[in-house]
């Protein structure tokens, strides 16, 4: 299979994104660098939540507690930054995120309860933990955090928020994907039994995938803190959005297929559709309807494509 065939879905998404950017430009001729920057900034927490969800879905599970873990990391960092410098606070929060993910994964593996139930229960646990750390929104963010995601870097038009996402995701995911662990994650996702019989340590692999998801949730929580400047203990609407973007991004529920680039492009597509509808003076409530419809429609279309290619192959 050629490169284009293998990445048809992701390439299609990128084309769609470019087209949508063009449409935005048509509707609002003043949409330019600053528009792009604020779009990228607003997409940050969604992008990290989606990356977290995508890793877990690839291994064949699902993590409903992503938004709650983000809340925990956001308040942890906000509280720590009141007393210590930004860098150690960020590192501790990321470690907390990875630890929470590892706990999720370990519980899924050792209790043998379905992952959807475990993470549903952990959703409450982490949400409660966030409230215990910080009852009301508070804490503080180091000033340079906000600076790191505002404006452009290197050349105008390359939003620094976008660079932050790209660097953070690539720094975690590319080494993992190139390693044995990455292969094990994809193998476990596509057929757990076959992977087990081929000598893949299925349990630790799944736990590791959840830990990576926790780490991405940590990044997500930090980006929330950077966006608002305060730690917010109540989880935001990131769970549904993350599932939607993951599915849009070509990762198939059930595991083994897809990467992280597609889902993150899908995040930007969903965000830019929201921008377009806002610019077109559409009722913001209608936007929710459109988002839901797109999500369902795209999934149906994807299922249709799979069916057709199977028929052609047969």
């Amino acid at each position: 299979m050629s490169f284009v065939q293998r990445n048809a879905w992701t390439l299609g998404l990128i084309v769609l994104l470019v087209v949508l950017l063009g449409v935005t430009r048509l509707i609002q001729p003043s949409f330019g660098v600053s528009g792009l920057e604020s779009l990228a900034r607003a997409s940050l927490p969604f992008a990290f939540a989606t990356a977290a969800m995508a890793v877990v879905v690839i291994v064949g599970g699902i993590d409903l507690s992503v938004a709650s873990m983000m809340a925990v990391c956001s308040v942890t960092a906000a509280v720590l930054m009141e007393t210590m410098g930004g860098v150690p606070a960020i590192l501790i929060s990321l470690a907390v995120g990875a630890l929470m993910g590892l706990i999720n994964g370990t519980l899924v593996v050792i209790t043998r309860v379905p992952d959807i139930v475990v993470t549903l229960a952990m959703l409450f646990v982490w949400q409660g933990t966030a409230l215990l750390i910080l009852e009301t929104p508070g804490g503080t963010a180091t000033p340079w955090m906000r600076g790191a995601i505002t404006g452009s870097v290197l050349i105008t038009g390359l939003p620094s928020a976008l660079v932050v996402v790209a660097v953070a995701v690539a720094a975690v995911w590319i080494p993992v994907k190139r390693s044995k662990l990455g292969l094990a994650i994809y193998a476990t996702g596509s057929d757990e039994m076959a992977a087990f019989r081929s000598g893949v340590a299925v349990g630790p692999t799944r736990a590791a995938a959840y830990a990576i998801a926790g780490l991405f949730s940590g990044f997500g929580g930090l980006s929330l803190l950077a966006l608002t400047g305060v730690g917010e203990p109540v989880p935001g609407p990131y769970l549904l959005a993350a599932v939607a973007s993951v599915v849009l991004g070509g990762v198939i529920l059930g595991g083994g297929v897809g990467g992280l680039l597609g889902p993150i492009v899908a995040v930007f597509i969903l965000r830019i559709i929201r921008t377009i509808l806002t610019l077109a003076a559409v009722d913001p409530n209608v936007t929710t309807i459109v988002e839901g419809t797109i999500m369902v429609g795209v999934v149906m279309f994807g299922a249709f494509l799979v069916l057709r290619s199977r028929r052609q192959a047969a």
Binding site: I62, L107, T111, R112, V113, P114, I116, V117, V118, L120, A121, M122, L123, F124, V125, W126, Q127, G128, T129, A130, L131, L132, I133, E135, P233, L240, V243, A244, V247, L253, G254, D283, N285, V286, T287, T288, I289, V290, E291, G292, T293, M295, V296, V299, M300, A303, F304, L307
Partner: protein
């Protein structure tokens, strides 16, 4: 046959035998657990257990158990319905806002129609377009949320009114028991009958156990899915109507907080999320257990965060023990 494994039953260790018994009768340990929790509650606050308290417990467990019925039915086929919370909210909101305009009965019928409509869309997506139920019902839930918000703009001036019958069902008491029981008992009997004694119930179990085998045996799965999700939507609407009578204040997120607990109640009650195994009786006990846990945590005067976290841990613990004991998934 008996000479092949002479005395084999004697070698079954007692723990395994207990496990087998529990597997065959999943409701018994759950009921025992429920009474254990109630006992702990009585120890924590002597004198709390009273007929009034029991009535209240049942009253607030009813809507949860009804939504759990929707989850049990969909989980039997390996699906899930995450749109029930918002469908119930829509039904309640539509009823409350349309009652002053067109009277209670048409308003309630339209509310049920909303549930059926969402159910048809879900059924189409899951049964015909073969979308994963989780995605499909999340999506319809999102769409319904948006529609509700837009709808609210149009009726913001009409005011709201709650049909007297719903208020009677939701808040009244007869002989110490909440009136909601008059709705719930027939409902529960219907669901139990549907699952155990009808062809439709068999089809649900068949599709969940092995979809391919069911299809090869001539089951038209899309028709079953369609009927199932419409039923699930109707159940959610009915719950919304009852809940409106209980809370008496329509809002845009009325029944949404019941959604995740309804999944938990079904799972605690021994329904497998992968399909093929489930019991509504278990889900009813599961709903009661969740409500008792709620009361315990409220009584313990813990900070809200600790309460939420413990709630999650207990759900996890109960399901993990359950899986350990019965060796089912």
């Amino acid at each position: 046959m008996s000479d092949i494994h002479p005395g084999a039953p004697d070698h079954v260790p007692p723990l395994v035998r207990v496990g087998r018994f529990l597997k065959d009768n999943p409701v018994i340990p759950l009921i025992a657990f429920l009474f254990l929790l109630i006992g702990i509650l009585e120890l924590m606050r002597p004198g709390i257990i009273s007929p009034f308290w029991a009535g209240n417990l049942i009253k607030f467990a009813i809507p949860l158990a009804m939504l759990a019925a929707a989850q049990v039915l969909t989980m039997l086929t390996g699906g899930i319905d995450l749109s029930v919370g918002i469908v119930a909210t829509c039904a309640a909101f539509v009823t409350a806002t349309l009652t002053p305009l067109m009277g209670p009965v048409p308003a309630m019928l339209i509310a049920m129609g909303v549930g059926a409509l969402v159910g048809i869309v879900n059924g189409f997506g899951v049964g015909i377009a073969r979308v994963h139920p989780l995605i499909m019902t999340l999506g319809t839930g999102l769409i319904a949320t948006g529609c509700l918000q837009v709808y609210q703009r149009f009726v913001i001036a009409t005011g709201s009114d709650i049909p007297a019958i719903l208020e009677w069902l939701g808040t009244g008491r007869t002989a110490g028991l909440p009136n909601g029981i008059f709705l719930f008992v027939p409902f529960a009997v219907f669901v139990l009958w549907l699952m155990r004694f009808t062809g439709f119930g068999r089809l649900l179990f068949a599709l969940g156990s092995n979809e391919n085998a069911a299809k090869l045996s001539g089951v038209r799965s899309w028709q079953v899915h369609m009927a199932l999700y419409v039923l699930s939507g109707l159940i959610a609407s009915l719950t919304g109507l009852l809940y409106l009578g209980m809370i008496r204040a329509p809002s845009l997120s009325l029944a949404v907080p019941l959604m995740l607990p309804s999944v938990a109640a079904a799972v605690i009650g021994g329904t497998s999320i992968f399909g093929g195994r489930g019991s509504f009786a278990g889900a009813i006990v599961g709903a009661l257990i969740l409500r008792v846990i709620d009361t315990m945590l409220t009584l313990a005067r813990m900070p809200e965060g600790a309460r939420i976290a413990l709630f999650g841990l207990i759900i996890l613990l109960v399901t993990a023990l359950y899986v350990r004991f019965t060796e089912t998934r």
